[in-house]
């Protein structure tokens, strides 16, 4: 027994915490990229997550395209949609207080979710785990569903790729330079507005990718993005605004802390993240990985 809990149960909870953390990391990363590079508090992220999952369901039920197709097509479609959002709306708030962007994207999220509710109702849509990923590994101390293992693998790989792209490539350095001083970068002949649109679309696609990953294991319905977007924001805040590694690492840490709260004090499991956020804000207002403004 460890702290009154059988070790097998504790290990399995650590594992599950890390798996959920993978989701948080993926969601938060998109938010962090959009905030860090574009200075937009992108509240529409949850709605884009929902669109990813709903598109996966639509593709399966109306077009007959399965999970693996959806994993590429849905993010691409949502990416194009995000691109239009940026061109039509978000762009117009460039240079004003980020709070306006928050209001705008919050409103957009309400509209998008409303449209989906009217069209499809709030009843969850059936979406199953693809046959190739069904089943479970028996690890001795726990049953690990194959699908969850895949989610972690996919999320870790994607997070790593994005981190490398932003921190280590030439494109990444251009991006970071553009956020520091857009006018100067533009003077070097780089089309900054186009870059901004592209990043916004990529962030949206990332949310949709997480949506497709989540579709087989959560209820697919128009409201599904509402909770996760709040958690993702908390993770970004804890990790530090403007940092790329921060939200990735903190996504996993937050998942872990939440998982352990579920064993030791389940009643508090949904507030644990926010308690952590308050503590971090009190001690390090810029977040654990953030650069002080």
């Amino acid at each position: 027994m460890i702290l009154g809990v059988p070790p097998a149960l504790l290990f399995s909870q650590v594992m599950l915490g890390l798996i959920n953390g993978a989701f948080y990391a993926l969601m938060s990363l998109g938010l962090a990229v959009i905030f860090g590079l574009l200075n937009i508090i992108n509240f529409v992220h949850g709605a884009l997550f929902m669109m990813g999952a709903m598109l996966a369901w639509l593709l399966a039920s109306y077009v007959g395209l399965g999970y693996w197709w959806a994993l590429f097509i849905a993010p691409a479609m949502v990416g194009v949609f995000a691109l239009m959002l940026e061109r039509l709306f978000v762009r117009r708030l460039h240079g004003v207080d980020p709070l306006y962007g928050l209001l705008l994207t919050f409103g957009l999220a309400l509209v998008i979710e409303g449209v989906f509710r009217v069209k499809f109702g709030t009843q969850g849509m059936g979406y199953d785990i693809p046959p190739s990923l069904q089943g479970a590994f028996r690890l001795g101390f726990m049953v690990l569903p194959v699908y969850r293992a895949w989610v972690v693998a996919a999320a870790v790989l994607l997070c790593l790729l994005i981190w490398l792209a932003v921190e280590k490539t030439r494109l990444g350095s251009v991006l970071r330079a553009a956020t520091e001083n857009a006018a100067l970068v533009q003077a070097f002949g780089i089309n900054v507005p186009r870059l901004v649109t592209l990043i916004y679309a990529l962030g949206g696609a990332l949310a949709a990718f997480a949506g497709v990953l989540g579709a087989p294991i959560t209820s697919v319905d128009p409201n599904m993005g509402q909770n996760i977007v709040i958690v993702a924001f908390a993770v970004v805040t804890i990790g530090g605004l403007g940092s790329i590694a921060g939200p990735i690492v903190m996504g996993f840490v937050v998942g872990l802390i939440e998982g352990l709260t579920k064993v030791f004090y389940p009643d508090a499991s949904s507030v644990a993240i926010f308690v952590l956020m308050i503590l971090v804000l009190l001690i390090r207002p810029a977040g654990l990985f953030g650069r002080a403004a």
Binding site: L9, T122, Q123, A136, I217, S219, S269
Partner: protein, 398 residues
């Protein structure tokens, strides 16, 4: 024309038109219009009330019937505020449905204070007709006591140890209490339980705890809707049910079986008050509802239809909309419709009626779309609900 006679003439005209248009009888259907349970009640319940009003002829005691609706957004404060506004400013005569137990209890206080009737269909906490009963509240739908009757057939077939995953609000806690006493009475045992915050989107940690307990039955005491669907999906993912282990929710809606699919839900047993494909009468009603509104009625929609009809019959018998007189009349009329069979309205406001033990069909057994349940047994009204002799309601004299 001189001004004064003209005014008198105008006054007469207005009075005449007022006489021709008597004040309507107003029914207020208070709903979750867009939240996680809105596909079980929501607009469908408003439609059901309208259907009942139309079936009744659109008029009662010579006054037109008006069906109003509002969205409580799953917030008790919003629900109670709407109830007050409806009663104080709009003269609503009866409040209907009111899903979500927290909100139902808030509205229950408002109507007790304002002496106005409410018929609860979607709220399942039995406190409405027990500890918190009052002369104006009636409870039409299933309650936690009735739901917990599902454990008896489980224990009989050898599934006699339980672990609860309990939603942390009135619904979850009252259902767990009721289930615990039903399990004890039937000779089963409870191996543990865990309280789950309402905002939870991932149940895996809790499911693994349940699995580790070794209980034969993991009962998901999570209100119907997208949350329950998620929990069921994840229970299946973690392989919680096999030959000797079951996952159940004590209550299952046809709509959730539809979402989860028969392979995931086959064999599940539950007590339901209404199932569209139960008999010729329920099928005829459901087809009629579907033809007008585009979907089959849920058990809650049928319940709102029944409650609305009974209220209108009560008004007709009482000859007035006075709350106390209508309530007295409703205890005297015969309530027997597509939803409530062999029904009696008890002194604590509880409508008892026959319930049905159903089992989810296997994919091979299901012949038509939405053909999901086998009828296992009819539970007579007197056994289905808490007997009056055990009532905790102060209105009941023992």
């Amino acid at each position: 024309m001189r001004p004064i006679p003209a005014l008198i003439a105008l006054g007469c005209l207005l009075a005449g038109s007022a006489l021709a248009q008597p004040a309507p009888v107003k029914l207020g259907v208070l709903e979750d219009m867009a939240g996680p349970t809105s596909y079980l009640n929501g607009q469908g319940s408003v439609d059901a009330a309208q259907l009942a009003a139309d079936d009744f002829g659109g008029k009662v005691i010579g006054r037109p019937i008006v069906v109003m609706s509002a969205d409580h957004q799953q917030k008790p404060a919003v629900g109670a505020a709407i109830a007050r506004r409806w009663i104080d400013e709009q003269g609503v005569d009866v409040l209907l449905d009111i899903p979500n137990s927290d909100i139902a209890l808030a509205v229950d206080q408002v109507i007790a204070e304002k002496h106005r009737l409410a018929i609860f269909v979607g709220a399942v906490t039995d406190r409405i007709s027990e500890q918190d009963c009052n002369p104006y509240a009636m409870q039409w739908g299933l309650d936690t006591y009735a739901d917990s009757q599902t454990v008896r057939p489980l224990i009989k077939s050898g599934f006699d140890s339980f672990f609860f995953l309990t939603s942390d609000y009135v619904f979850g806690h009252t259902l767990e209490d009721a289930a615990r006493s039903a399990i004890a009475a039937a000779g089963g045992k409870v191996l543990g339980s865990v309280t789950i915050p309402l905002e939870t989107t991932d149940y895996s940690s809790f499911l693994v705890q349940a699995q580790a307990s070794g209980a034969k039955v993991v009962a998901l005491l999570i209100s119907g809707g997208s949350r329950l669907v998620t929990a069921f999906k994840q229970a299946r993912e973690f392989g919680l049910s096999d030959a000797s282990h079951k996952v159940t929710s004590l209550h299952i809606y046809t709509e959730d079986v539809h979402t989860l699919g028969l392979p995931a839900t086959q064999g599940l047993e539950a007590v339901v008050p209404f199932y569209w494909n139960r008999d010729a009468a329920s099928r005829a009603f459901s087809e009629r509802y579907k033809a007008r509104f585009g979907h089959l009625p849920s058990e809650l929609h049928a319940g709102v239809y029944s409650a609305t009809l009974a209220y209108l019959k009560g008004v007709e018998k009482a000859g007035t909309t006075d709350a106390a007189k209508v309530r007295a009349a409703m205890a005297e009329i015969t309530i027997d419709d597509v939803y409530a069979q062999h029904a009696t309205l008890l002194a604590n406001g509880r409508l008892i009626h026959d319930l049905y033990l159903v089992q989810v069909k296997t994919p091979a057994e299901s012949k038509d779309p939405w053909d999901y349940f086998n009828l296992v047994a009819t539970i007579p009204a007197a056994e289905a609900f808490r007997p009056l002799s055990q009532s905790l309601c102060p209105l009941v004299k023992h």
